[in-house]
């Protein structure tokens, strides 16, 4: 029986684990990956103490910090169910069953999928959700970025330095996101913005060779070898069945990071906390761990 099980090892989960370890409570971290979305970010210039650091570098720092303490870690493991029975929280994963007195859900968000024909088939065969990871494989090729917000702009900016041509396929009538990023994209000769365009299908044989889009009720095909899907994020909260969520499926927490179930806390991007930022997730993770510690003390475990 653990004192605390943390689900997820992004900025929130890792920070929570460090706080748990420093309080001397028996802590286990169960996670699919380490670093979460932070590890997939490009340049980070707003995490205090680092004027500039890349996502993978910051994730490495987080991981080193966690490994400084004796924290049990189950990596490559996916949580399927969280259930509280009496005073015991039971956490079922694809590999085992764990028990704890308290839990922190810090499972973050993942990329939203397009749900069009060809998407699943061509995943990693030209279609990707991570420009930072896979962008370099598309040197001098023609690619499409699907989306119109900051993450789509970020992908387009990374790709315009690599690819021969970048189509930015935006479903709205104009681009969203930050003005500075929009300007960079508009000024690039490599990028062509296609507004009011809906993506209908991903085409190819063994690998992607095009996308079908629909504009003003007319379908057309763009010949591209790479497709980068950047249409937003959804919370990894499906396994938290008995826990209250908002309309976006984010877990509802109060200012103490408590969910509606006593002893189950949540932190970071998976919650309804306003603003999704690495530094905010880290701070929320700290709050949640201190909350869990307080719960253990109050209940004299």
């Amino acid at each position: 029986m653990y004192d605390l099980i943390i689900i997820g090892a992004g900025p929130a989960g890792i920070t929570a684990s460090v706080y748990g370890a420093r309080k001397g409570i028996n802590t286990l971290v169960i996670t699919k990956d380490i670093g979460g979305q932070a590890a997939l970010s490009g340049d980070i210039e707003n995490y205090t103490g680092y004027q500039f650091i890349t996502g993978p570098e910051l994730a490495t720092k987080f991981q080193e910090h966690m490994r400084k303490y004796d924290i049990a870690l189950k990596e490559n493991e996916e949580v399927q169910e969280v259930e509280k029975i009496g005073d015991v929280i039971k956490i079922k994963t694809n590999k085992g069953l764990y028990e704890s007195r308290t839990a922190i859900i810090a499972s973050g968000k993942r990329s939203r999928e397009l749900n069009v024909p060809g998407e699943k088939e061509f995943k990693n065969r030209g279609l990707t959700y991570c420009a930072t990871c896979d962008g370099p494989l598309f040197r001098d090729k023609e690619v499409a970025v699907i989306g119109g917000g900051n993450s789509a702009l970020d992908a387009a900016i990374q790709l315009m330095r690599i690819a021969k041509k970048v189509y930015l396929i935006n479903i709205a009538s104009e681009l969203g996101g930050d003005v500075i990023m929009r300007q960079k994209v508009m000024e690039s000769k490599v990028v062509t913005v296609v507004n009011n365009a809906q993506t209908m299908a991903i085409l190819g044989n063994k690998f992607v060779n095009g996308i079908k889009i629909k504009r003003e009720n007319k379908e057309e095909i763009l010949a591209v070898e790479g497709v980068f899907v950047e249409i937003g994020l959804i919370p990894n909260s499906e396994f938290a069945r008995g826990i209250e969520k908002n309309q976006f499926q984010e877990i509802k927490v109060n200012s103490y990071n408590e969910t509606n179930v006593p002893a189950i806390f949540a932190a970071g991007d998976v919650t309804d906390v306003p603003e999704k930022q690495i530094i905010i997730a880290a701070g929320e993770g700290a709050k949640a761990a201190l909350g869990a510690f307080g719960y253990l003390v109050r209940h004299r475990f």
């Binding site: 993978p56 490495t60 990693n124 065969r125 896979d134 962008g135």
Partner: protein, 78 residues
């Protein structure tokens, strides 16, 4: 027994970093190919793995896509 191990990766992918860290921790010597700059190796990676995601690991001809710890351990006899 020392096996020939090749890693196809990009400098920016987090799983590539984790994979290489894991190999180093286990004292596995490997050739590291940066497919973001080496076009020939990029094409080689796509042809041996039939896909474009990194990292790809080649352990004496056994191809493993992604950081699949269990498979890697098995292939290396760890």
């Amino acid at each position: 027994m020392i096996k020939s191990v090749k890693v196809y990766s990009t400098p920016t992918c987090p799983w590539c970093l984790r994979l290489k860290q894991f190999l180093r921790e286990n004292n596995i010597h490997f050739e590291d190919y940066d497919v973001s700059t080496d076009q020939a190796r990029a094409e080689e990676m796509i042809s041996i793995s039939g896909q474009m995601g990194v990292p790809v690991l080649d352990i004496e001809g056994e191809i493993i896509v992604g950081f699949d710890k269990e498979k890697i351990k098995q292939a290396l006899g760890l």
